[in-house]
Amino acid sequence: GESVGLHLPTLSVQEGDNSIINCAYSNSASDYFIWYKQESGKGPQFIIDIRSNMDKRQGQRVTVLLNKTVKHLSLQIAATQPGDSAVYFCAETDNSGYSTLTFGKGTMLLVSP
């Protein structure tokens, strides 16, 4: 089968566990961060965002943490469900005004029932 490029970090969890997906960024000028979920054959789906003047933001079952000192972003998913299985991308942009997003490499989350 085809394997070129298919070297995504993978996180395997059991249903009901909490999941933490990490992302590092390099642009010190980045001031807006988004987590996207991508299911097979679909486009990236917005999950949650955070601005650089915050270090934590919570949504429904999801929490994003931002550590600007070490340029690190994490997505926490509480009570992970099989439907959460997907590739998760962090994306960031700076204050250039046109919101051109730079995507990270992605992490595959596999949730077992």
Binding site: G43, N95, S99, L101
Partner: protein
Amino acid sequence: EPEVTQTPSHQVTQMGQEVILRCVPISNHLYFYWYRQILGQKVEFLVSFYNNEISEKSEIFDDQFSVERPDGSNFTLKIRSTKLEDSAMYFCASREEGQYNSPLHFGNGTRLTVT
């Protein structure tokens, strides 16, 4: 919930042929984008479009690529002479005007296969 729609879902073309990928952004959005994703890799920015002109483009977006908003609803990406390495998923996205740093909303993509 309004969504970005893309057609076709899959396009197969021969090397050297022209292709046009079509997108209908969310109706009250005024910033439009094309991104691509080669199989198994990350999503890459191609071009952004606002007020009927390109606002930013990446090094991938060379002279073989062009974008157009031919009417009030469609946003198209044209590749004039396709190459094998253009095979990828192409995603259209849009964003509301007036919301600085708001999320991009993506369509489900067009899978382009160049043979």
